[in-house]
Every structure is written in structure tokens, then in C-alpha cells.
């Protein structure tokens, strides 16, 4: 059996149904073997797109997504998607072709040091040196990607290794992810005691609780002890935002009351969160008066940014399960009264009353009411992303997929494709902007080719809105390179790529046109004009403490 056949068989054994990628000189043997497999191959049109498709599959299922690229430019094009997966802890396995072993180091055609380039942006990476190694490395790569704190893994495989044959006695096993508890009874009792005795506790939920099991337990904990919950952008969907205990999103574009109330807390319970600067502002000014319980699966996150009073390296789900029976029910009337007072005094974002459909919040609300509850929402990066994060009522885990840590423009379209591939029965909506969409617009072809049920909504304010907003607020309106002069016809582009294109600008009944576009069972792009003076508020000035929000 050849190396290429071994790779494909192992992917089948792992249960991989779909792989996104692009063939090239250094992975032709792999593609040759893939031809006779049941694995569905999705031909991306740029390797970054393939990487984000793998992410879209992973973010919506929790299982590692897989992508293939060739060596050299194939691998360098993939880097952004890997770095993005690293910062958001997304499990993907990228299999990159490499020039033949004997040519490594000779500056061969399409040779690049993929191993060296991907060290800082992967959880781990492998350069395969013998065909036999594939039998251990491939199962190991999936285990690394999916276990502990998930992350991207690269397997760089020289051409000759794909071609060579080897014999072996039996197929390797894919290790199960250990669910063994790392939480002792004592630790659970200590955490529960701190929570039970706190006067004004707040839960800070991070990406580590954004899965069905944890979200259910989080709700139980919050309700049993009446603990208000705020969440980072990575945790949107982990706690219902319209729940009476919800404080909404924390951080730079979070709610004013979340940022204010967490400073009043005497105990912050950080679950699967890492105190990122977009969530905490200036970390030394964050929660100065409160005790902090920090629970994270990654030991190196503990005390990295915020010193914890009590810390535990464990999965949030496991800790929640262990402490729940020890949590006493508590009304916390006084604390909840204070919460209500602050919430009322600091109203969050809302649409203007004149019901202008083209206000971003009204568009979002129109979409909310016209897609099923289990729809998956992807975003690109910029103002539209923040508006969606603020206004969409995400009630289910893994329904919001967005580039949070790296903030990669160009994420939205290919990630939506990955989400649609992994969830063929669900509606996918991609919110994008006229800046972001051009960064991976070629993947509209992939959308067309696979006739995916995706509606792409382009918030078109003819500018790089979020950057322009920074120039407006912090650079004395000295606008530089943020207003587009040429204005592409996005509907014509969509049609040219083979998907539907609708423009709300001239539509006589824009709301109806939008609803009709959302009802189409296939790929459609909708261009939506947005007033370029709209900015995302409230906002924490970069480098300022969270409590000083501009609103």
C-alpha cells in the first residue's frame, strides 16, 4: 500500500467525510489515491479558502476539519487560516504536500519550509520522514488537534513518501479523547464554597464552554445560584442573551453594564476564558477588587494575564458537572436588584425608532425573524461582525462562527461553506462587508459549484468601516485609505460567479426582497447599502480600561 493510500484510508477510518483542498505538483499522489475514496473533495479556489472551509466544519461540529494543499505557495496561502485556528483553538488537520525528501533543502521548485513556517501558528506540526511514520503520525495529529485545548496541526508529507509503499500488520487505532476527570472532590468543594459564600459573583464564560454539554451545565449553575453571566465573543451562543441573568458580551464592543458590573463583583468565575485584551481592556485595571476563580484546560493560560485567586487546569464542563451538586440555591435578591439597576441605567445598543430598514440592527433583526432558530451565522471581520455579535440573539452553541482572535477579513465566505458542508440540513447566513468579502470572494465559485444553502449579506458602506471608525474617533477624522473610490457591483460579481445576486439599494420593497432572498434554498448574495456614518458603539478605546466606554 502506498503512502497516499495509507493517508486516505486513515482519513476514512477516522470518519472524515469531506476534505477541502487544491491539488498541485507535491500532492498529486494523494489526489490520485483520493479519487477512489468515498471522501467528498471540495475544490477550493485559494488555499486560505480551503483552510477556512476546514474551520467552518470544525467550528460547527467540534470535530477536526481537514484540508489539503500542495507545497510552496499552497502552504504559504494556508498560513492565515492556520494562525486563525490557533488563536481561536479550532481543531483542523492540514495535510500539505512537500517536495521529494531528496530535494528538501535544495530550493527546489515550489519548495518552502512548511515545517518552519508553521511552528508558531500550529498546536503541533510534523514533517513525515518515512512512509511507515504515517501510521503513527496521522492518528496522533487528530488526537493532538481535538484533545485538550484544540488547535491546528500540520502534516507535511514529501512527494516520495506519498509514492512509496510499505507493508504492515494492522491499522493503528485512533485514540479516544480521554474524559477521565482531573477534578478532585476537594477541588470541587473548594470552588463550590467560594461560589456559595460570594456576595456578588459574576461568571465570565469563554470559548471553552461553547459546546452543548457545557452550555447546559452553565445555565444550571447560573440559575441555581442566581449568578449573572457575561461572555466573550468566542462564547456567543453558550448562554441565552435574553436570559434575566445574562449581562451580554464583555469587552471592547460589549455591553456597558457587563463591563461595569464585573468591576462590582467580589468573585469572578472565569470558565474556559483567557482574559484576552479585547475582552478585558487593560488587564491590570480589570477586576481589581474581585477574587478570581480561573478554570481553563490550558495550564499556561492560568496567571498568564490575570493572577487567579483559585485556579484549576481542567475542562470547564467537567468542573461544572462536579461542582453543581455542591452549589446551594440562592436568590441573591440584592445583587440581582443592583444588576437590574445598572442594566436600566446603561441601555445597550438598540435600533433607531424611525425603523429605517437599512440601519444595521434592523437588517439583523429582519434576518433573525426569517431564518430557522438553528441557522448558522458566519461573519467576516469589521463593523458588521460587531453588530451581529451585539444584536443577534445566539441561543445555541456553535451557531456563531467568526474570526475572533486573529480578526481575519476573508473568513466569512469560506467558513460558511465549511459550515454548510458539515450541516447540509441547516440554513447558513454569512454576514460580510464590502471590504472583507473581496478578500476571499473567489470562493463564491465553490459555493455555486456545490449549490450550498448560504445567503451572503454584504453590508456595503463603501469603506473599511471599523478602521475608518478608529480614524474618526482617535485620529481626528483624518481619514486615510479607508474610503473606497471604486465601488464594485457585488450583485454582478455574484452572478458572474454563478450564484444569485440581489441588490436592496433600488428595491421597491427592500424588506420583502431580503426575505425572499433568505428563503432561496441555494447560494445568494444580497448587497445591502449601509450609511457610512454608522459606527459601532459602545466602544472601549484601544488601550483604555473597560469601564471607560464611549457610547
Amino acid at each position: 500500500m502506498t503512502g497516499a493510500q495509507i493517508i486516505v484510508r486513515l482519513l476514512e477510518k477516522k470518519g472524515i467525510k469531506t476534505v477541502a483542498g487544491i491539488p498541485g505538483a507535491a500532492n498529486l499522489h494523494l489526489y490520485n489515491a483520493l479519487k477512489s475514496s468515498k471522501i467528498r473533495h471540495i475544490l477550493a479556489r485559494h488555499e486560505q479558502g480551503a483552510g477556512f472551509m476546514a474551520q467552518g466544519m470544525a467550528r460547527t461540529t467540534g470535530k477536526a476539519g481537514v484540508c489539503f494543499t500542495t507545497s510552496g505557495p499552497g502552504a504559504t496561502n494556508l498560513l492565515t487560516a492556520l494562525a486563525d485556528a490557533k488563536l481561536d483553538s479550532i481543531p483542523i488537520v492540514a495535510i500539505t504536500g512537500q517536495v521529494a525528501s531528496a530535494a528538501i533543502g535544495t530550493d527546489a521548485f515550489q519548495e518552502i519550509d512548511t515545517y518552519g513556517l508553521t511552528i508558531p501558528i500550529t498546536k503541533h506540526n510534523f514533517l513525515v520522514r518515512t512512509v511507515e511514520e504515517l501510521l503513527t503520525i496521522i492518528p496522533e495529529a487528530f488526537h493532538i488537534a481535538e484533545s485538550g485545548r484544540p488547535g491546528p496541526v500540520v502534516i507535511d508529507i514529501p512527494k516520495d513518501i506519498q509514492q512509496q509503499s510499505c507493508t504492515f500488520e494492522k491499522w493503528p487505532e485512533f485514540k479516544e479523547i480521554s474524559t477521565e476527570s482531573a477534578v478532585s472532590e476537594n477541588q470541587a468543594a473548594e470552588i463550590a464554597a467560594m461560589i456559595n459564600s460570594a456576595q456578588q459573583p459574576v461568571i465570565l464564560a469563554g470559548g471553552g464552554v461553547n459546546n452543548e454539554e457545557s452550555a447546559e451545565l452553565l445555565l444550571q449553575l447560573a440559575e441555581c445560584n442566581n449568578i449573572p453571566v457575561t461572555f466573550t465573543m468566542r462564547a456567543l451562543g453558550a448562554f441565552p442573551p435574553d436570559h434575566r441573568l445574562s449581562l451580554g458580551m464583555i469587552g471592547m464592543h460589549g455591553t456597558r453594564y457587563a463591563n461595569a458590573l464585573i468591576e462590582e463583583a467580589d468573585l469572578v468565575i472565569a470558565l474556559g476564558a483567557r482574559f484576552d485584551d479585547r475582552a478585558t481592556g487593560i488587564s491590570k485595571n480589570f477586576c481589581t477588587k474581585s477574587k478570581i476563580i480561573h478554570i481553563d484546560i490550558d495550564a499556561s493560560e492560568i496567571n498568564k494575564i490575570k493572577k487567579a485567586t483559585y485556579s484549576l487546569t481542567a475542562r470547564a464542563e467537567e468542573v461544572l458537572r462536579k461542582i453543581l451538586p455542591l452549589i446551594v440555591s440562592d436568590g441573591r435578591e440584592q445583587w440581582l436588584k443592583e444588576i437590574d439597576r445598572v442594566k436600566t441605567s446603561m441601555p445597550y445598543v438598540s435600533a433607531p425608532e424611525d425603523s429605517d430598514l437599512f440601519h444595521p440592527f434592523n437588517i439583523i433583526s429582519e434576518v433573525v425573524h426569517n431564518v430557522p432558530d438553528d441557522a448558522i451565522i458566519s461573519t467576516d471581520v469589521g463593523q458588521h461582525q460587531m453588530w451581529v455579535a451585539q444584536a443577534w440573539p445566539f441561543r445555541k452553541p456553535r451557531t456563531f462562527i467568526s474570526s475572533s482572535g486573529l480578526g481575519t477579513m476573508g473568513f466569512g465566505v469560506p467558513a460558511a461553506i465549511g459550515a454548510a458542508l458539515a450541516n447540509p440540513d441547516r440554513k447558513v447566513v454569512c454576514f460580510s462587508g464590502d471590504g472583507s468579502i473581496l478578500m476571499n470572494i473567489q470562493e463564491l465559485v465553490t459555493m455555486a459549484e456545490n449549490n450550498l444553502n448560504i445567503t451572503v449579506l454584504v453590508f456595503n458602506n463603501q469603506s473599511l468601516g471599523l478602521v475608518k471608525q478608529h480614524q474618526e474617533l482617535f485620529f481626528k477624522k483624518n481619514f486615510m485609505a479607508t474610503q473606497f473610490e471604486a465601488k464594485p457591483d457585488f450583485c454582478a460579481l455574484a452572478k458572474a460567479f454563478g450564484i444569485g445576486g440581489v441588490d436592496l439599494t433600488e428595491a421597491p420593497e427592500p424588506a420583502r426582497t431580503l426575505i425572499e432572498a433568505l428563503a432561496v434554498k441555494g447560494p445568494v448574495l444580497v448587497n445591502i447599502p449601509i450609511d457610512s456614518s454608522e459606527i459601532v458603539l459602545p466602544m472601549v478605546k484601544p488601550g483604555a480600561p473597560n469601564k471607560d466606554m464611549i457610547f
Binding site: G116, I119, K123, L127, I144, A299, S300, N303
Partner: protein, 99 residues
């Protein structure tokens, strides 16, 4: 060079060509300082020992935790019992024993 309080981090690692990049890359990208490095294969050559000379500062806890996360790092130990001569007389390595 000596006013800083120095100590040794002993790493037991897999022995293959990429391991050193993983370790030195971690130091450069996270802004940690390293004062010296020594490395050699042990046993049958499957694994190596790496000694890193590190200044004791507030980043030490993070350095240890980040190193422990590396897949090819099998074990991390802090050592204060070492003879620093090898690091501080490194220029003598090639200049000894004339004739």
C-alpha cells in the same frame, strides 16, 4: 556577566531535526530571554537533553508552562544545582590543549 540570578531548565525532548526550532521559536515569539543553550542526544539517540540557562524573573512560570505544552518536550525540570562554567567559558571550547 553575572548579576542576574540564573538557573537551568532541563528539557528531555524527542530527538529530531525540528525540536530545537520549536524551543527557540517559543522563546523568541513570546519575548522570553535565554542566556545559554546546550543540547545533546542521550541513550540510543531517540531523545535528547537540552539545558537552557535562564534568568529568574516573573516570566519563569509562563516559560515552564509553555515549554511543557510542546509536544516534543517529554519532561521539564528546574535545576539550581549546576556548574555554570560551561556557559561562561564557552569561548575556551576551541582554544584548549595546544599540541
Amino acid at each position: 556577566m553575572n548579576p542576574k540570578k540564573l538557573l537551568i531548565i532541563e528539557l528531555h525532548v524527542n530527538n529530531h531535526p525540528g525540536v530545537m526550532s520549536h524551543i527557540t521559536g517559543l522563546f523568541s515569539r513570546r519575548g522570553y530571554n535565554m542566556e545559554g543553550i546546550l543540547c545533546g542526544a542521550i541513550g540510543e539517540g531517540e531523545t535528547s537533553l537540552i539545558y537552557l540557562l535562564i534568568a529568574e524573573d516573573e516570566k519563569l512560570e509562563q516559560i515552564i508552562l509553555q515549554l511543557s505544552k510542546l509536544y516534543d518536550v517529554l519532561n521539564v525540570k528546574l535545576r539550581r544545582d549546576y556548574d555554570h562554567k560551561v556557559f561562561f567559558d564557552i569561548d575556551k571550547l576551541l582554544t584548549q590543549q595546544p599540541g
